[in-house]
Amino acid sequence: MSADKLIRMANQIAAFFATQPGEDAAQSVASHINDNWAPPMRGALLDQIAQGAAGLQPLVIAAAPAIRKPKPPLPQA
């Protein structure tokens, strides 16, 4: 999964929720990513954040603790 693309996508999501009132924007960003991103994509994003989060909006970084960590994939039974 290309890191550049995931960063761009995460920043786009953050840009939308940053405009919304009242709610916890970081939680909204995390929920959107949890609901729509497959585990490997979330894992790759969390890796980016762990590696210094270059290029990521602060709101994405703030959302990171609420982004569900993927379980390690199981081999086919």
Partner: protein, 955 residues
């Protein structure tokens, strides 16, 4: 209409709505609505008054004088088609005087008609023939004289004789057989709304005319309404000329756009003779377009692949194998990939062209057999933002109205849609309403044909810069809130008032005013203000939108802005209003309903919803993943990264239809097992290892769900040429991978859908047979289905206003790429063209053209028809230019129907923030003169040719 062979009762004149009026016809008492014609009242009583120029699809004109009747207390013999009923009226339809008059009229008609009935294409299917019989015509006393049907007269060539016009590939116009009933002219005006036909000359010189030298060169859009209306062989389908008259008909549903027209497939044996739009069809009411009526020849096209094929590598030629071998090859490879690379390394793409039942099974294959949620569909690249945006605001991922709703619309707002080309039958219905006085607001970078509707009333074109939808819609909201035009009572009753007050404060910000955003959007502030006032204050306001809304980086935000506008003006929950996404594909609504998305089970329930998952786990007997799967674009990204290795694609050509072709090609090439199931070796198949032959909509049973949530039956009219319907192949693959599916008919799949999906709970094939169609939700709460949604309250409870801030796309013009490219569809071709390019429709649109404004063309030295190079940061291609003022300066436009053009080589991987719907509608490009096809196009052509090699079968 031509109803002798396959009778469809024609009531003579259109139905009316009014207070009941009782009258007597030939001694029978009959009660009909006020305004009904005497002819229709007689038909209601079971009495068919002879007629030629009347039809219940058209307003009566009283021209043929055959439908004369006697009415007590009324002088003379009035035409029953133009005489409205009155209370207590006493009508006689068959008297000595009437019989004489009718016979005299018929004698005149027949005196100028060739008596070649036995060899005439309409023999046995001709209303003139029927009427001659009905009135008892036995003799024609007129001596030979001036006529229109003899090529040569006593004095040489007959100047009144005109040759046949065979320019249209689908029908023939034979002036010699015309009785000038004007049904064709009226059908073109009233039903289709094109006004391509007229009557030239007067009296004996009267001729049907296109105003040009031929039908093909005229304004005619080949919808066929005139052919359907013609009572004789004057306008007749070429297929009837070639084959003969049909002997039975089967009601089915068109497989092109999301309008979902019902058709009678008229058959002789197992040969399809013609498709005639079904008058009882709720979406189309007996009308169709050139695609649905005529462009079905692809089903018999020689390019169809009818045998399964496999190959070890995509550089090998194809090997024809048995289905068993192909299915085991595919199953073994997929299982091996999962063993080596993990459960999540494979996935499916369901088809929005196939049936609900087929789509349901493909997503079930991923969830229940693959054990992951890696399923997606082409709705990803078209209306996924509609699903997301409407679910957030209204609570359900679908349009709010039925198509009949347009008959009650006072102001139609059309945003980013081109209905005359992409949804032609809906466009005809909208045009009819516009002619009746409804107002039109078009928000589109292009000046679409709807704005050129003949006899249109007031219309406004907000010709915005591509990519600024949100700014324009928020500016409309600004005007509505700052000028106090919102519907407070509706909002207080139906929406969350606090959220509205927040939105009001947001929209009222002067930064969102039309004046402030004009420089950005290029929409004149005063025009925008007028449009806002008209929409908010003009009665029933309905918003219709297409992919010009969704295919942007802010597609989902734009859908929310549309929902906001509908809610704040109270335009929800009754006929004539609503939010109406015009769906591109025949079953894109259905494929979304059926759980094709990686995060949603059938019925739009999130995969993490334990209750919903439990229902399917119980029904399927397996544990299901609660993690969202990969979307199409994520699959391709993961494939390039090496984590995603196998894909089963049913009926979708992602290489041609998805953006950034090079990236799609790289993703496909990186996979170890690509299974393509399609009618043809499409562009994607160049990267496939297994090819499974698909079946057409004519060859299987099932259902499609159209843009108005209408579940329409699809019925098998002929056996599948490839031996299997698509759902059967999916079942074979599933079982080869260890499933134990035992479906014997799609009705069993529908039963499973109904048992697991609340909106479909009461849907059965028996119900569809009885009612013709039904709109979901259809369950105990709505046993008759739901033509209009959110009537008493929103599905989510209170309607939700969401802020819609404009955020510019990353795709910007600059010195290298100074123009903005936007893409779309044209009438005669359909999407990637796999079907329409294999029909005579290519007579109208043999290649994709680049529309460019004269100013932009001139500074680049480009003339109309020149080859030009179209380049973006993603890639470049070459095509011919069409210099036109239809696009604004700075904007260029093309279609994507032809693989030789490959418009998607140029489009980028930008996408909607919420759904990853690609940003097809905005690409920064440069255009320059060119000598011909680009290197990519030449390489591609060679590569495709190599990829399509098939080894000769072993002897």
């Amino acid at each position: 209409m031509k109803d002798f062979i396959i009778p469809i009762k024609d009531m003579g004149t259109p139905a009316r709505v009014g207070a009941p009026v009782t009258l007597t016809v030939d001694g029978f008492s009959v009660t009909v609505p006020a305004g009904t014609s005497v002819m229709r009242a007689a038909a209601e009583a079971g009495i068919s008054v002879p007629k030629l120029c009347a039809s219940d699809m058209l307003e009566p004109i009283g021209s043929c004088r055959l439908c004369l009747v006697e009415i007590e207390g009324m002088r003379g013999t009035p035409a029953s088609c133009t005489t409205p009923v009155t209370p207590g009226m006493v009508v006689h339809t068959q008297t000595a005087q009437l019989k004489d008059l009718r016979r005299g009229v018929m004698e005149l008609y027949i005196s100028d008609h060739p008596l070649d009935c036995l060899t005439c294409a309409a023999n046995g299917d001709c209303e003139l023939q029927d009427m001659a019989g009905a009135v008892g015509l036995r003799d024609v006393r007129y001596a030979p004289g001036a006529n229109h049907f003899e090529q040569r007269g006593p004095e040489g060539k007959n100047p009144a004789w005109l040759p046949k016009d065979e320019s249209n590939p689908y029908f023939t116009y034979d002036p010699a057989k015309c009785i000038v009933c004007m049904r064709c002219v009226r059908a073109c005006e009233e039903v289709q709304g094109t006004f391509a036909l007229t009557i030239d000359g007067r009296s004996f010189d009267s001729r049907v005319s296109t105003g040009t030298d031929s039908f093909l060169n005229s304004d005619c859009v080949s919808c066929g309404a005139c052919v359907q209306a013609c009572p004789t062989a004057t306008l007749i389908e070429n297929s009837v000329i070639e084959i003969g008259t049909p002997e039975r008909s089967i009601i089915t549903t068109c497989a092109y756009c999301g309008v979902g027209c019902n058709f009678e497939a008229q058959m002789r044996g197992d040969e399809l003779v013609r498709m005639v739009p079904w008058k009882e069809g709720k979406a189309n009411h007996g009308h169709s377009c050139v695609k649905g009526r005529f462009a079905w020849g692809y089903a018999q096209h020689q390019d169809r692949i009818l045998e399964a094929m496999v190959r070890d590598a995509i550089t090998d030629p194809w090997r024809v194998v048995t289905y068993d071998e192909a299915i085991s090859f595919a199953a073994d490879r997929l299982r091996a990939l999962q063993a080596q690379h993990g459960v999540d390394s494979i996935g499916v793409i369901t088809s929005s062209r196939c049936t609900n039942e087929e789509t349901f099974l493909v997503q079930k294959l991923a969830r229940a057999v693959f054990g992951n949620n890696n399923t997606d569909t082409c709705a990803r690249v078209c209306h996924s933002p509609t699903g997301y945006g409407l679910k957030q605001t209204f609570g359900t991922s679908a349009g709010t109205q039925d198509f009949d709703s347009v008959d009650h619309t006072d102001v139609a707002v059309v945003i980013g849609a081109n209905p005359t080309d992409a949804h032609p039958v809906f466009a005809s219905r909208l045009r009819k309403r516009l002619r009746e006085g409804a107002k039109l607001i078009v928000i589109d970078p292009r000046r679409i044909d709807l704005l050129e509707t003949p006899h249109i009333g007031q219309a406004w074109h907000l010709g915005l810069r591509p990519g600024t939808n949100v700014a324009v819609l928020t500016a409309l909201a600004h005007v509505i809130v700052t000028e106090g035009l919102y519907d407070e009572a509706f909002i207080r009753a139906r929406c969350d008032w606090d959220e509205f007050t927040d939105y009001m404060a947001f929209a009222a910000d002067p930064a969102h005013s039309p004046e402030a955003t004009e420089a950005l959007t290029t929409v004149p502030a005063e025009t925008l203000r007028t449009a806002a006032r008209v929409f908010a204050g003009g009665g029933n306001g309905a918003i219709y939108y297409g992919l010009g809304v969704t295919e942007h980086s802010q597609g989902s935000t734009t859908v929310m802005a549309i929902a906001n506008l509908a809610m704040m003006t109270g335009n929800i929950g009754r006929p004539g209003v609503g939010v109406n996404p015009l769906r591109g594909q025949n079953n894109v609504q259905g494929s979304c309903d059926m759980g094709s998305f990686p995060h949603e089970l059938p019925g739009y329930r999130h995969v993490s919803d334990d209750t919903a998952r439990g229902i399917f786990e119980a029904a399927w007997g397996v544990a299901l993943s609660q993690e969202p799967g990969l979307r199409i674009n994520n699959m391709l990204d993961a494939a390039v990264g090496g984590q995603f290795r196998g894909l089963y694609i049913q009926g979708e050509d992602i290489l041609q239809s998805d953006p950034d072709t090079r990236h799609v090609a790289a993703g496909l090439a990186a996979m170890d097992c690509v299974i393509v199931q399609d009618l043809f070796l499409n562009e994607t198949a160049a990267y496939a290892h297994v090819f499974l032959p698909g079946s057409t909509f004519l060859e299987k049973d099932g259902t499609f769900t159209n843009a108005e949530r209408r579940i329409n039956p699809v019925r098998r009219v002929m056996a599948p040429k490839n031996g299997y319907a698509d759902w059967e192949l999916t079942q074979l693959l599933a079982n080869a991978m260890g499933a134990n599916w035992t479906y014997t008919h799609p009705s069993e799949v529908m039963a499973e859908i109904a048992a697991t999906t609340p909106g479909f709970a009461n849907v059965t094939y028996q119900m569809l047979d009885e009612r013709g169609s039904v709109q979901w939700p259809c369950n105990d709460a709505a046993p008759d289905g739901s033509p209009i949604m959110h009537v008493d309250g929103f599905v989510r409870g209170k309607g939700r206003f969401m802020r819609t801030d404009y955020i510019a796309t990353d795709e910007r013009t600059g010195p290298r790429f100074p123009l903005l490219l936007t893409t779309g569809r044209i009438l005669t071709q359909y999407n990637v063209g796999a079907q329409t390019r294999r029909t005579e429709n290519s007579a109208w649109h043999p290649e994709d053209l680049l529309e460019i404004h004269p100013h932009d063309a001139e500074v680049r030295g480009i003339n109309d028809g020149d080859w030009v190079r179209l380049a973006s940061r993603a890639g470049d291609t070459s095509l011919r230019a069409n210099v036109t003022e239809r696009v604004a300066p700075g904007v260029v436009y093309t279609t994507f129907h032809h693989p030789t053009t490959q418009a998607n080589v140029v489009t980028t991987d930008n996408s909607d923030w919420a759904t990853n719907c690609p940003e097809y509608k905005v690409t920064a490009v440069q255009v320059a003169p060119s000598n011909g096809p680009s290197d990519w196009q030449n390489d591609y052509a060679a590569r495709v040719l190599a990829a399509r090699r098939i080894l000769p079968a072993a002897e």
